[in-house]
């Protein structure tokens, strides 16, 4: 018999008469000790259905259907009885461990509360239990860390603390909602290992929610794929990965595989497109003079309230050639965004300089970029919400580069803006819309259009696809490739996703803690990593062990 089974679950959100349906009749079940993966893109209703089933949604959500846990329907239990089950019989691990921990309470107090919410325990005994739990989830030196506050923990340690809370009373089921999404890839791998180990040790059932089929492949027994609040496909993991039946699952799996297949293949990918031919050629033009050169960049900040300054970059040098896409990879805090900002002229290095076609434009002494150079280097940011002015229409945003930098008449500007919109494959109807009326992918296209409006030599793209769904990601990557082919623009492509970098870039620069540990052609670096850190990074990519 299933430990936890959800049947025909529906969730609607209503506020002041308007309702939206997030989950439309979803069913799934998990057996004791097994792992069920719930996979889908954002907005597919995977988290909402689990939160709804366990009574954790705000009161304006209406939940119908049933959620049977050991025979009791959670959707019909009184709040008090539901409370008695949560924490004791069902443990939870959520996505972003920083926002999910109370900022003013110590880690120890928060873990201890998971126990005291259900049991009466003496102070000393409680502290001992919390210390044991911290040890079990792999926090080093728990005696010293138990009284720390969440901000003193790293992302990975916070997630370990969340897991300690979830397993505190040894529940039969753990619900983990995107537990590794906010983490760096090497940390993600270690958290996945921890979850697996705990599950084996205690025989706990696990529901693992993720947007990434690859992450799940290492851990799932069964997989349920969701889209738009409905279950698209449900199958045992081995079956689903071997022979996905639904077209959507195939697309998801294809996207997950695409990058990873590239990583270990010695040959260029079989699906070589016309645009990519020139990539290879430019890769061979290695000896030609570089378009952009970053030489010996150093960056250090003085942190408020502290004496010693923080070094973000140490001796970073690399080249970007004509028509080339160079990937800048590293985990969070590696300094890759800082480099992007320096190249774009938005930050000034403490030492070192950047030059474009031999002309130095961003050395420590410069006050501002020379005006002639500014349109030559443009930038695209990660956050498609923040990078467009919410109060200006797409037309006004795209007209801006021409209005500021040229004396073109209005009619000409309008024609150019329309051409730009067509170039990034958006319908002309978006021109009069505000950013809030666009999807994330459309917004990112507008941001790219603005960046290429004046046909710059270099575009710095700082994690341009990280905030997007996997299908949109693929489209944006294709757009960047096409723009390079059509306009001859070089891209500095900053990403933490090695798969995308392998797919798009000719050369790659690997950063670790502000230093370049390795750089070279993508296939050389990824197939034959010489630096141990690069190797670790590659080994942490999920889904390589199992089916993907």
């Amino acid at each position: 018999m299933a430990l936890f089974s959800v049947e025909d679950l529906r969730v609607t959100f209503g506020r002041r008469g308007r309702t939206t349906t997030a989950v439309r009749g979803v069913s799934f079940a998990v057996e004791p000790g097994r792992t069920l993966a719930l996979v889908g893109e954002s907005g597919s209703g995977k988290s909402v259905s689990l939160l709804g089933a366990t009574g954790l949604l705000p009161s304006r959500a209406e939940v119908r259907g049933s959620a049977l846990f050991r025979g009791a329907d959670l959707t019909r239990l009184s709040p008090a009885r539901l409370r008695a089950i949560r924490g004791r019989h069902i443990g939870f691990v959520f996505q972003d461990p920083l926002s999910n921990l109370h900022p003013l309470k110590t880690i120890g107090a928060q873990i201890g509360e998971a126990v005291t919410a259900h049991e009466r325990v003496g102070r000393a005994a409680l502290r001992r239990r919390v210390l044991d739990l911290l040890g079990e989830v792999g926090i080093k030196d728990p005696e010293r860390r138990i009284d720390d506050h969440p901000h003193q923990f790293s992302g990975g340690m916070r997630q370990r603390a969340m897991i300690a809370m979830a397993i505190a009373l040894n529940p039969e089921l753990i619900i983990a909602d995107e537990p590794t999404t906010a983490l760096d890839v090497t940390v993600q791998a270690s958290i996945l290992r921890l979850l697996r180990r705990l599950q084996e040790a205690h025989g706990t059932a696990l529901i693992f929610v993720s947007h990434d089929l690859a992450v799940v492949s290492d851990i799932a027994d069964d997989v349920v794929v969701m889209r738009d609040g409905e279950v698209v496909e449900a199958a045992p993991a081995a079956e689903l990965y071997a022979a996905p039946r639904h077209a959507y699952t195939q697309a998801l799996l294809g996207a997950a595989r695409h990058g990873r297949a590239l990583v270990r293949s010695p040959e260029p990918p079989e699906s070589e497109q016309p645009g990519q031919q020139s990539e290879r050629q430019s890769g061979q033009r290695a000896e030609s003079a570089p378009l952009l050169r970053a030489s010996a960049l150093h960056m250090s900040y003085r942190r408020p309230g502290r004496k010693e300054s923080f070094t973000a970059l140490t001796d970073v040098s690399f080249d970007l050639r004509e028509r080339e896409i160079v990937g800048l990879v590293g985990e969070s805090g590696s300094g890759k965004s800082t480099i992007g900002r320096i190249v774009a002229g938005l930050a000034r290095p403490t030492a070192g300089s950047v030059s474009l076609r031999g002309e130095v434009y961003n050395a420590p002494g410069d006050v501002r970029l020379p005006k002639s150079l500014r349109p030559a280097v443009q930038v695209v940011f990660q956050d498609p919400y923040g990078s467009l002015n919410p109060r200006r229409t797409v037309a006004a945003t795209l007209a801006e580069p021409f209005v500021v930098n040229t004396d073109l008449p209005a009619a000409e500007i309008r024609a150019r803006v329309e051409a730009l919109v067509a170039r990034v494959e958006l319908p002309q109807s978006v021109l009069h819309r505000l950013p809030a009326q666009l999807s994330g992918g459309q917004r990112q296209r507008v941001a790219i259009a603005r960046a290429v409006a004046l046909e710059p030599s270099v575009v710095v793209a700082d994690e341009p696809v990280s905030a997007l769904d996997i299908t949109t990601q693929t489209q944006i990557v294709a757009l960047i490739r096409r723009l390079r082919a059509e306009l001859g623009t070089s891209f500095l492509f900053i990403s933490h996703d090695l798969g995308v970098v392998a797919d798009l870039c000719e050369r790659v620069v690997v950063l670790n803690q502000g230093r370049v540990v390795e750089q070279g052609p993508v296939h050389r670096v990824f197939d034959d990593p010489r630096d141990p850190y690069t190797r670790e990074l590659l080994d942490s990519i999920p889904g390589r062990v199992a089916h993907v």
């Binding site: 939160l51 366990t54 954790l56 705000p58 009161s59 709040p79 409370r83 008695a84 089950i85 949560r86 924490g87 004791r88 443990g91 939870f92 959520f94 972003d96 926002s99 999910n100 921990l101 109370h102 900022p103 003013l104 309470k105 928060q110 509360e113 998971a114 919410a117 259900h118 506050h149 901000h151 003193q152 969340m162 809370m165 408020p304 309230g305």
Partner: protein
Amino acid sequence: MRRHIAGHAARALATLLAVLVITFAMTRVAYRNPAAVLAPRNATQETLDGITRALRLDEPWYLQLWHYLYRGPDIQGAPMGLFNWPPALGYSFRQQRPVTELILSKIPVTLSLALGALVIWMTLSILFGVAAARRPDSWVDRILSALSYAGLSVPTFLTGILLSYFLYFTLSTYGIRWFPSSGYVGITENPFEWARHLALPWLTIAVAEIGIFQRVVRANMLDVLGSDYIRTARAKGVTERRVHFGHALSAALNPIITLGGLELAALMGGAIVTEQIFGLDGVGRLAVEAAVGGDFPVVIGTTILAAAIFVVSTFAVDVVTRLRDPAAR
């Protein structure tokens, strides 16, 4: 943290100094013959000359200011300046008493008024605010929000008059004399009478403040209740009461402390209207009478006191909210 505090303290001192100079200039430069304004009525020419000499009114204004700060007027050989020990705020020639002494004699009234009202309004606002945030848009929330709007929309002087009309005048026509209409009894003399005399003034202030604070508490609680870590607490099986008072309130408290500090400072600088209506002889009344009558040493003194209280309370609020936040500590 230490650097931040030092920076803030420096800013506070600069603020105070600016207030001092501006007040001084405002009161001194605008008059041709300050001595005549400052002196008691029908003062002799000799007294006027004495005042002119004591304040060095025959010198340029910046020297007067310097003198005011550095030494202050010499009254019977005792300097009355800010930079002496004990620091003094000058001398009221009208009332023939040092300003510091005048202010100190009024402080117990104002302090009792402000702190008592603070306790009442904070307690009620937090209870009401949490109750309203528990079930937004429920009838409890609507009634509390209507009440808070009403409180917010009535000026203090009208509240005071209405309270004294209903709870003093109307009751006394029935022979019930629970609340006196005016007067003050020291807490050390008779704590019960102290509270009885201050009950209506406290309520008067509390009505308006609850109108503001209930909504601030509600809004911050709603904000925090929607956050991820509250969901985590619920996921652990923590009881709703503990979620509200243990988790949410402690996180929602900082903006409330900040605003509370500002309001308290404003009241301590003189709850002028309330003091006026209930005949309380506090700092506010002293300041108003001085300002209307042109007793500038008292005006400067009370203004500096109010500014100092404001600056100190902003500083204290900053330190407290920082201490509460482990990331800023």
